[in-house]
């Protein structure tokens, strides 16, 4: 009986999807919003990467919401795992966690870690010129820290300085938004000069916000990994 009901429900959902998707003109030049962004994006925002101009200029407030969601998730994870850590600390004192990673992993991560950090920084600094941006660059930086965590089981990050940078990133984002409110009348308006497209000092507030977001996301994800491994002092 349950199977028949679930089959019927699946069929209803499938019919709904088919009816919806048959209405959308795929691959045709009919979507007005996309056309507007492609034609006017560079001129209005100064960012060559149209995705970035949408994410941080046309829909900047949504991005602030996304950053907030990640921030709240990190706080929640830290809170939940903090209780467990107290119990674990007593248990872990007796067992010796002196396992070392292999030589290949240690040497390789020594060599790769600075390069990964550099690449992450490159991705979020050039967010308005090349594909990528704050979220991608931050994730790359966090994966570099993850490599270090795997290679050196005894060490951990300095949680306090990390949370300071993280909070500063969020503050810069909101502060620039408020400055836009002061200078141009709208929250997160581009109040700086747009400059010449294709150069690094262009697109007004976009590079500044992306640097802040990149640092914030990278250090936040690193803190999440640290919380999960339960290693910080």
């Amino acid at each position: 009986m349950r199977r028949i009901i679930s089959l019927i429900i699946l069929a209803v959902i499938a019919v709904g999807f088919i009816l919806t998707f048959s209405q959308i003109p795929f691959g045709k030049d009919k979507i007005d919003v996309a056309n507007y962004y492609i034609k006017k994006g560079i001129e209005e925002t100064g960012a060559v990467n149209i995705v970035t101009s949408v994410v941080l200029n046309y829909r900047g407030f949504d991005t602030l919401g996304e950053v907030t969601i990640l921030f709240v998730a990190a706080i929640g994870l830290g809170t939940v795992l903090f209780v467990e850590k107290k119990v674990k600390e007593i248990a872990s004192k007796s067992e010796d966690r002196s396992k070392r990673a292999s030589l290949i992993l240690r040497t390789g991560s020594h060599l790769l870690f600075p390069l990964i950090l550099l690449f992450g920084a490159y991705v979020f600094v050039h967010g308005h010129l090349t594909p990528g941006g704050g979220f991608q660059g931050g994730a790359i930086i966090a994966s570099g820290f993850l490599l270090m965590y795997l290679a050196f089981p005894k060490q951990s990050i300095d949680k306090k300085s990390f949370s300071v940078v993280e909070s500063l990133g969020g503050l810069i984002f909101v502060g620039i938004g408020l400055l836009g409110l002061v200078f141009s009348g709208y929250f997160l308006t581009n109040f700086l000069p747009k400059g010449i497209p294709n150069t690094i000092f262009s697109a007004g507030i976009i590079p500044i916000i992306y640097i802040a977001v990149g640092l914030k996301i990278g250090f936040e994800l690193t803190a999440i990994i640290d919380d999960l491994l339960g290693r910080s002092r």
């Binding site: 995705v51 594909p131 990528g132 991608q136 994730a139 994966s143 993850l146 795997l150 999440i224 999960l228």
Partner: protein, 78 residues
């Protein structure tokens, strides 16, 4: 085009395998492979921004977080 079809086919096989595997480490690795192929497909669909996010978060960080969780709980599905 054929290359993309092959990738999609491999992706479906890996996704089914991730459900079937009883060893959760294997399942997580197949999930990471699905993410990697997804990011390649995003690149072919001319969405390099999404491809980068998918490769860094889907294939890198999520896999690590899953493996940490498995290490702290149980490796085999009952």
């Amino acid at each position: 085009m054929i290359f993309q079809l092959i990738l999609i086919f491999i992706m479906i096989i890996l996704a089914v395998a991730a459900v079937i595997f009883k060893d959760l480490i294997n399942a997580v690795v197949t999930c990471a492979a699905v993410s990697l192929i997804t990011s390649i497909l995003f690149y072919f669909l001319q969405a390099p921004d999404v491809a980068m996010a998918e490769a860094a978060i889907g294939a890198g960080l999520t896999t690590a977080i899953f493996i940490i969780a498995i290490k702290k709980t149980e490796r085999y599905e009952k």
